[in-house]
Symmetry: D2
Subunit: 345 residues, 4 copies
């Protein structure tokens, strides 16, 4: 049994994390921090916690003062807010899983360019491990600072990794057209996130300079063994949860779908959370689970491959993957607390 604390526990990812950790047999939640809801009881903010999780959210000071009582902390904070807490926690021997962007990019300058803030803990960039468990499992196990991947990068990198590993697509041909449910925009009181502004509409946003772009390029580049650039366009879809990443690449050689099925199934053969489909994925089949569904089609006419992946942005794209990382960090079975399937509807 280990003790954990959550910073930013009232955001959508943070509350999902509390939900998962509550059900996790090896975890004791020591504190839940919230900026906006300090001293509120959890079930006043999230009614699903009624009768199950009924403690008070603590403020930042109290949470930091409790660092010496926990084994691990999860940071679900806006970017730029993780530096100090992380340094303090690590100095106390507390492991850190950051769901934000502060330790994902290996390069300080790239971080500062894309995020527009100074990086205040650059010395930690060498220590942090990009926590995409399926690709970095062994490094994660030995780390004490995990940069939990972004939601779009998780879906996209898992979709494209086998192609790049096998050099099956041209590295300058990658186009990623991704779609996210509204929870990806977070629980902030913005006009743009109101029900009537999102419902019955779809839009592209943030292109071509969305902040997940360098993260995708960095990790895909490592797999490809070369620097690469992608076109990445996120869209907002009227649904609560889910990411669908539709990826295009020009094939380097003719290949048929059966061969590609073999390659993908081999690549992910030991992965509990990645399922290779013969159909194209739908986000509903993974909603509420830590799974990633991947399907593809080869277009012989154009010589392109179409790969589509689906995840739940709050679980495999955030809180679930964070717990998967925690399981690795502490030597638990990787799937512990994460074995729930999607409820389909």
């Amino acid at each position: 049994m280990i003790d954990a604390g959550i910073f930013g526990a009232t955001g959508y990812a943070g509350q999902q994390l509390a939900w998962i950790l509550h059900n996790h047999p090896e975890i004791n939640i020591k504190f839940l921090n919230s900026h906006n809801y300090t001293n509120f009881q959890t079930n006043q903010v999230y009614g699903n916690f009624n009768g199950f999780i009924e403690e008070k959210y603590v403020d930042m000071d109290e949470a930091i003062n409790s660092l010496n009582e926990v084994d691990v902390i999860f940071l679900s904070l806006p970017h730029g807010k993780a530096f100090e807490i992380t340094e303090k926690a690590l100095s106390l021997g507390v492991k850190v899983i950051d769901l934000g962007a502060d330790f994902r990019l290996n390069n300080k300058e790239i971080y500062e360019t894309w995020y527009g803030v100074n990086h205040l803990a650059p010395s930690l960039l060498g220590n942090s491990v990009y926590g995409l468990c399926e690709l970095n499992r062994e490094k994660i196990k030995e780390s004490n600072l995990i940069a939990n991947p972004g939601c779009y990068p998780t879906a996209t990198i898992l979709a494209l990794a086998p192609l790049l590993k096998h050099k099956l697509i041209k590295t300058d041909s990658i186009i990623i057209d991704a779609k996210s449910g509204v929870s990806g925009a977070g629980r902030s009181a913005n006009i743009a996130s109101l029900y009537c502004e999102c419902n019955e509409s779809i839009k592209a946003y943030g292109a071509p300079l969305h902040r997940h772009t360098p993260e995708i390029e960095q990790e895909l580049g490592k797999i490809a063994g070369e620097n690469l650039m992608v076109s990445f366009t996120p869209h907002l879809v009227p649904m609560n949860r889910g990411i669908l990443s539709t990826c295009y690449g020009s094939l380097t050689k003719a290949i048929d779908e059966e061969e590609l099925q073999e390659i993908y199934r081999e690549f992910y053969k030991d992965e509990y959370f990645v399922k290779i489909l013969k159909t194209l994925p739908e986000t509903r089949w993974v909603r509420g689970s830590n799974l990633c569904h991947i399907g593809f089609r080869i277009d012989k006419r154009t010589g392109r491959v179409l790969v589509v992946s689906a995840i739940d942005n709050l679980i495999k794209g955030a809180a679930g993957q964070a717990v998967q990382n925690m399981n690795l960090l502490f030597g638990f079975k990787e799937t512990t607390g994460l074995e729930f399937l999607s409820m389909a509807l």
Copy 2:
């Protein structure tokens, strides 16, 4: 470990049942029957089963021939279809949990009047127990034939039981205005259930003679100790899951909300799945769980009490309650396999 079979496993309640039983530590699913998808693999119909439940749906004959291999069957079939299977199963010592309406009404004539079909197994009506666990727990434990309650009656009876038990409302004053998500209409290819016909609209339907009316009246009457009639109006709401039952009654005496809180909390004090709120319920807080949330308001101006309850129609209103009944039937802990909270969004 016991063996179970599901008849009608591709309907929305049936698939939810497969999902719950798959996760239940004491259950082995022996067969899944489907009329429309015989010989399909489960994951062809429900993609969330990919990699987890991948067997073939069997036809009715094969399912019936397998009755001697199971300890319990769940029937998730249209009304009028449970008679023969139930008789056969009981004769083989197999316990039966019927999610349909065929054994809910104690009176053959009332069944035939409201459902418009002949009741072909009237001798079993004396044996069947109305499986609303919170109210009939002891009888359920000793039964072998459970009539799993309808979704609207579950929410409504739980909401009104304390008031009627304590004779706090006039029995001729009850009005029930209920709202359901679209999954309540089932997985049939009807125009009226198409996305574009249900989305962005709300309507009342079936009133004043919806078939859940006599079921509500029968069970509320037992609690009140007298025959009673209610006005019951169901509505269709553009969401997948959830029932909200808004109930009105004229108080027999002045009472304040604090007293009523005490009465409700006392009434349900040992119930894991029923939560009494100080706020009014929202279906999202119970969606994906076996919980029932209940809240109320007293209107001193009009002398009426307003009680609102919320459940997930596919879980507490169908498959979850069926498993709760099964747990009672077989002496498992009542909450086994049902301890998942709502994911909130």
Copy 3:
């Protein structure tokens, strides 16, 4: 051709008003006022105005200074904000149509009790006319200050008026269970109105003391010829637009549905915007129109009548009715600019 100004033109009702007035052949929009978007161009806030309405929102001072350039103003402001503007406008001979609540209740004390603010222009309460055109047409024509009805009251009063006029229901038996789309909550950046908080859920709110209660009671009382009280429970439904008002009353005498059809059709026989159905209404059939659909059922078992009405809360429940009032005030054909049907989906 008359000149009009809108105060509060960026709220959901205000923008709908701009839309309708833009298409109205007799109206020239002189100014659009907005507090939050002063100096923004209209199409920056509402993209549907691109290429059609592209002027700047003006602040309150500029709007008030322009009063002498217009014939009529529409106020779509929070309650308590209409007093001063109204007095100024009337003194200049400008007619006022207030979409808010400040002039709906005839009694100053009742207003102050329910709204919790002082009424600063009580002398105008005698002048203002409750702008439910179907019931108060002649008074409206002679007025210069219209209190445009609330959305819930519009649907509810139209539903119940024929019953009360004919003394067919007991005045102490009225229960109103109403459901609204999320636009009814307005365009404010509240957490509770976020997409993920409203989607896939239904809840009751505000009961039993929602501020539309005294308005409903006042107007129904006038029709009944006696004071009366109602139980009124509003609900929030995951859809953009629409109100469904489900009303219950105990019949004073036996009557069948055919007779009631006659009574309703006779009552509304000259009304373009009210349609009496043989089915129960669905909000989709009126969404995007100024129509009110009414249907009903008699429950012989309980002796109650169920009346259901449907409107678009932003049109017949706000901006459309405001324009209908304006047409009456200025002697235009009552339906001018309002003859668009619902687009169904």
Copy 4:
């Protein structure tokens, strides 16, 4: 005043057409044909027609027998069903606007390959004009057989035409990632179109061989002056209406967004229905209108241009464009009956 008939008037495009023609000042609807609802009254199927359009749908025979009473017919039928009616109508001097696919592809073999049926009226392929009004206006005016464009092609061709006309993108680099609301799937009682199957999910479908592909290629090829192939992936989005087409192409030369604005605005400078935005489009701003919004971004890093267009699939993508074509055919002002803006929410 001209007389019109609609074949297939109860489908989603067909009912939208009835709605528009009902409001059109120059049109008298002579008959509405429906296969599934023959002899039903229109308002029994579409409640929004209550009190406005209340006639009976006629069967195919009666509709064909009425051809000599009309000036124009609209065909909103499944592909393969337009051949015979079209020949008959043209022989009687009746103009034909086909909303289906039967006359869109100039080449009989390509039609038969992609649609899997024999083309039974190949001699008409030379006569038919592809009815994308903005590009083919003059030809349309002189024709008597209009092939009304598909919904995806309309949005996509309008988005890419200026780029191809100016040879700004490589013709082998075009990737089209399109998203449609569920009404695009039609009003058929399919499980896949049920509310609970579409809601809260997004999926790609039909790729890489969706039937709109050759149509897009044919028309873009004409603009480019060379044969070309595109990658086209449609997606299903949980909303009633709307298409968003996200298009990618590799620039042939460096260009900045200001220059591109000029090019697009010049290209569409006389077009009432096409609006060039500085932002990226959202489908809600065009929903319920005949408009097409187009926006774009240049990605200097990758040398690609991103063009996004939005239409209402039932209006500019079907019924609205059909009426636009009719207006051209009969010499009415092109915008007659189509001047309604989107209602935004």
